[in-house]
Symmetry: C2
Subunit: 438 residues, 2 copies
Amino acid sequence: MEIPAKQNHQKRVVIVGAGFAGLSLAKKLSSQYFQVVLLDRNNYHQFQPLLYQVAMAGLEPSSISFPLRKIFQHKKHVVIRIAEVLQIKPETREVETSIGNIGYDYLVLASGATTNYFGMKNLEQHAFSMKSVSEALLLRNTLLQNYEKAVNTSDENQKSALLNIVVVGGGPTGVELAGAIAELRDNILPKDYPELNFNLMKIYLMEAAPRLLNGMGEASGKKVENYLSNLGVTVKCSTSVKDYNGTDVLLNNNTVIKSNCLIWAAGVKGNAPAGLPDSKTINNRLTVDEYSKLEGYNDIFVVGDLAAMTDRHTQKFFPQVAPVAMQQAALLAKNLHAMQRNAPLKPFKYFDKGTMATVGRNLAVAEIGGLKLKGIVAWMVWMFVHLMSIIGVKNKIFVLINWVWQYFTYDQSLRLIIHPTNKKERAPKVHTKSVIAA
Amino acid sequence: MEIPAKQNHQKRVVIVGAGFAGLSLAKKLSSQYFQVVLLDRNNYHQFQPLLYQVAMAGLEPSSISFPLRKIFQHKKHVVIRIAEVLQIKPETREVETSIGNIGYDYLVLASGATTNYFGMKNLEQHAFSMKSVSEALLLRNTLLQNYEKAVNTSDENQKSALLNIVVVGGGPTGVELAGAIAELRDNILPKDYPELNFNLMKIYLMEAAPRLLNGMGEASGKKVENYLSNLGVTVKCSTSVKDYNGTDVLLNNNTVIKSNCLIWAAGVKGNAPAGLPDSKTINNRLTVDEYSKLEGYNDIFVVGDLAAMTDRHTQKFFPQVAPVAMQQAALLAKNLHAMQRNAPLKPFKYFDKGTMATVGRNLAVAEIGGLKLKGIVAWMVWMFVHLMSIIGVKNKIFVLINWVWQYFTYDQSLRLIIHPTNKKERAPKVHTKSVIAA
C-alpha cells in the first residue's frame, strides 16, 4: 500500500469502515494531531435507513450514496483507500488488506454489522438480504424479473410463488419493507402488469417475538400492525422461519408458504475482522469499555454496530442504531484529541433522540423523548429527519422530488432491470492483489 | 411464450427492439387493427445520445432509461416481453426467443446496431464500448477503479497507463466523450485525487479519416478539433489503431501509447437476428426498399439502424441516426394502417433536421438546415433538443438539475463504483429458458 508519509507531529489513525461511525470520526479528527487513513470496500458512504426504498424502486442508489473522496476533498490529512481488510496484526500494529499492509498508531474498527442467518445455510443461500446498495439493487432486479416471469407462465402455483413476498423480521427494516411492497402492489404493479391478477399476490411479515417493533413501545408496535393489516399485509407474530429452498418457506408451525422471494431482516452480527480472537462476544460483536477501547488493547477502538458497549444504567448493550454510532464516533474523536493533550477522557453517554418507523404514505410511528406520534404527523417527522440526514444538497433535492412525485402520482419510475455487462474488468492489477474486491 | 390472444379483427405485429425505431412504431400502431408484441432484452428504452454522460458520472442510468411497461401502461393491445431473439423462422412466420416461440402476421426488425471491431479480436476483448447503459456503467466503474489503483502505485509507467485514456473514432460519440473526459480531468479529478498529478494524464482522440465529424461540414469538424485541442485533448486524424493488449495501443504508424482504457467508438454493425441468410448487406445491415420491406419478404420490415435503405437522391444509405429511425417508424405505422384499408403506400422521405455535437461547457457545433452554429448558441440548442427528447417529465427535471448543478459547481456527484452482489439470481426458471438474458 502506498500512503503519503504522515507529518512529524501526526499520529496515524486507521479507520476501518466508512459507515455512520467511521465517517463521523474521520470528519472530526484534526490535522493538528492526526493523519487519518479511511478504509472501505466501497468508494462511497451509504445511507442505510433508505436502502429499502432503493430496493422498492423508489430511489436511485446515487441518492443515498455519497463518494468518500468528495466528502474529504478539502481535507488533505484524510487518505482514502478502497480495500478489503483481511486481518488485524496487533503485534506489529498493522492492518493487512487486499492492497497491502498498513501500520497504525491508533486503529478504529467501524466495520458495522452484516446479515445474521444464525447458521441456517439454506436461508443464507436462498434469501435476500438488504445491508448494502448492491444487495438492494439485486432485490429490485429480482422482484421485477419475477413479475416478467409471472406474465409468461400459465401455471398458477408457479405464478403465485413468483408473486408472493415473505419478509422475515418485524423491526423497522421489515416493517418499512412490507409497507412499501404493499404500496407497490396496490398502486403501481397492476398498471405495469395488466395481464397479472395481483389479488393472487400475498405479502407476509414474520416476527419471532410476540409483537412488532420490539425497540419501541407496545402501542407503537400495535399501531404499525394495524397499519400493515389495513394495507393487506399478513402479519404473523410469534412465527419464525425454519427452512427455505428458494420456493417453499417452512414455518415453525410446520406450515409452508410458496414464495420465490424471501427477504431476511431478522438479525445482524458484527462484521469483525480476523486477528482479534479473544475479544468477540455475542453475535460476533467486540466488547469495549465506555471509552470504546477494545478489551485487552490500548490502541484499538471499536465504534458503531460492531461495538458491544454496556449501558451502565440498564446493563444491556447499546442498540445497533445510527445515533449510537455517530455519538460514539464524536466522543472518540474528542477522547483521541484529549489523549494528545494528556487531558482526561470522558465516558460514553447516549442521548436517545427517539425511534421511528414508517409504513407507507401518511403512516408512521415515532417516539421522541416522552412524545409518541403516529399517522401523518409521525410520517412527516420521519421524512424530515431522514431528508436532513442525507449528505449533500443535490441528493436532498433529488430525494425530495422523488418523494413528492411519488406522493402525488402514486408512481415510481425507476423500475429498471439494469444488468452489468459480462465483460470482465480487465485493467492490470496493481501490486499482487486487486484493489477493488469483487 | 404466453401471450394473450389477439382479437379477431387484429393482426399481430411483432417488433424486435425497443430503441427509437421500435418504440416509435409501437406507440403509433392502433388497436383498431393490431395487437403489438414488443420484444427487447431489457425492460427499458435507453436514450443512447446521452450514454456518454452516464459513463462520465454526469447522469444516472435511470435519467436516460425509461421502463417500457410504464410507457405502455394505458395500451392494452401492446404486449411487452423481455426476451432475447434467437432466430427468425419466416417459413412458419415465427420468432424463436429465449422464452419460447411467437407467431406473427407482420414482423418488424428494429434491433439496431452493435459495436463493430472489424474482426480485431484483441480490441474486442480489451476495448470498452458504449452502446448500452450497462456498458456505460462498466466504463464508469473501470475509470474510477483505475484512479483508485493509480493512487496506490509508485511505478510511473503503471501510473500513466492507468491515467491515460484513448478514444477511437472521431464521430459525435468520440468527440463528446473526449470533451467530457477533458472536463473531468480539469475540474473534478484533481479535487478527488490530490495525491495524483493529472498533468500526467493524456487524453487521445484517434480518427482514421483526415478530419473529425465526417457527417458534418468541414468547418464544424475543424472547429471541434480546435475546441478539443484547447481542452488539452491530443487529436490525431488519419490515425487508426492496429492492436491493443489492454495496456499498449499500437497505432498504424507503429507508435505505441500506454493506456489501460481504450474506448472504441469507431464503427457499428447491424444487430441482425439469425434466420435471414440472404438479406444481409454491408456491415450486417438488412437491405430494404423505400417501404422498409425486407428484400424477398412481404411481411417482414426493418427500421432504424439495422435497415440499409438507399436514398434515391444520393444513392447512399440513409445515416444510422435517431431521426431516420423515428421517421421510418412513423411512416411504417402509416403504411401498415394503409394496408389494412387497402390504401396506397407511401415511400420514405427523410426530413433532415440537422446534426449536432457538443464538446464541453459552452462548446458545441450544430448544422440545422442551412444554419451553422457554434459555441454557446450551438451548445444551448444541443441541450434543449436533447432535454426535450428525453421521455418523462421527471427525467427531464432530473437531467436539467444535473446539468445546471454541474455548470455552476463544476462537479458531478455520481462517482460511485457500485458492484453487483455475487449472489446469483435464484428464482426458478419459467419454461425451460431464462426470461432475462444475463
